[in-house]
Symmetry: none
């Protein structure tokens, strides 16, 4: 069975705890295997653009079954996937902050985080992505 | 000050309680005055399309400062706003399920609900929209 | 020579005077023959969606060289242009509130108005469209 | 209370005065906190593309709550936000000419300017953004 709303909420909570820990206002989006939204939060003070970017990161991480930050190096000028961000019907995000959610070796969804520097976004995304594993 | 994440969460919870009460699986979206998402939930079993429709209903209710269900009669064939749903850069929803969130006479955001019949969606949206008033 | 910024401003002012007269909060957009914006105003209290709709009405009125309200009857179910609103790369508006701006028999631009009932929108659009003629 | 039309007009006028001073034909767009247009002007002779670019700059500056010119260095090849301009549902502008409008420490809107070289655009945007402060 796929990612439940209860799962998504546990992931969301873990991500928000991490965001508070590093004192950064974040948007956090959780999608299931279909890449549609299951849970979302935008903290007070997170810039407006972070909402769409977080959702697009989650969409990308499940679309590729990989962390969004791993895509970036492949899309630099001269690299094999140069301009890959325009290859689909919606934005593919190629910088960090999106992480697949893996349960039992299967990618059941993804989390996308935006609002801070990309390494901050990514640390919050990882905290969320690891929440299910930790709670089992 | 505008709609906070804490406010949005209280609205979301009230809507989900109502959805459970009427035993209908729903997507619920809360936007602030900017019409960007603040909080979102999709319950297990809600159809995939409900995610986008809920978000678009919330966007519409704040774009118009009125319930989405009030727009529909004006957009029937032969009526003054026929085809209004296509008039903006994203879908304007003209059936029920979106409600403005009003605090102190000001529209501070909106809630959009999708997943059931439109009257079910609207009853959940109203339960959410009234949550802040009830808690003051 | 085409519609100047000074012309557009005179049109805008005449439209806003009319909006105040009928006590309706409006968005007013003026485009030139290329259909790009030359002047725009959104009055305090006009609903958010009115900004995009006004611009789309002005775009449509010059795209068709006719009042947007004249398009509606042709696009009703069973009529020759049914679903015409989706025929271009951006929304074609088929209800009233967009008027071509005609100088010396030539369509030099258009005005689009949104925020009220469509007949209110159209009366403001007409007031704007007639401003240049009146001032010559 | 947010940015009024009167505020936006004062900002617009200050920007156009600066554009005339540096003898450069400009498009100038003012958005409020919702990022919808409040006021806009395109001067005679400003290239057509400047209309959309000015609007997108204003949208970006409020979406990020920062000057658009500050985004560019982060989005160069090899930098953390490379390809950030495609991360949202509409273009994020990463070069100068968009400035947040700040009143009492709060970002109440933004101005976007296009038509000249980016430093010209930015000087006009700054002249506009400072107009409210100057008049208080």
């Amino acid at each position: 069975m796929g990612l439940t709303y209860e799962d998504a909420n546990r992931i969301l909570e873990a991500a928000l705890v991490k965001a508070d820990e590093i004192d950064c206002k974040m948007s956090v989006a959780i999608v299931d295997a279909s890449r549609e939204l299951v849970a979302f939060a935008r903290q007070d003070g997170a810039v407006l653009v972070s909402a769409q970017v977080a959702i697009n990161k989650a969409w990308t991480a499940k679309s590729m079954d990989m962390p969004t930050g791993d895509i970036g190096p492949l899309t630099q000028p001269g690299q094999p996937l140069y301009q890959f961000e325009h290859a689909a019907d919606r934005p593919i995000i190629t910088f960090a902050g999106g992480q697949p959610i893996i349960v039992g070796g299967e990618v059941v969804g993804a989390i996308g985080v935006s609002g801070g520097a990309v390494d901050q976004d990514d640390s919050v995304a990882c905290a969320g992505a690891e929440a299910l594993a930790a709670s089992v």
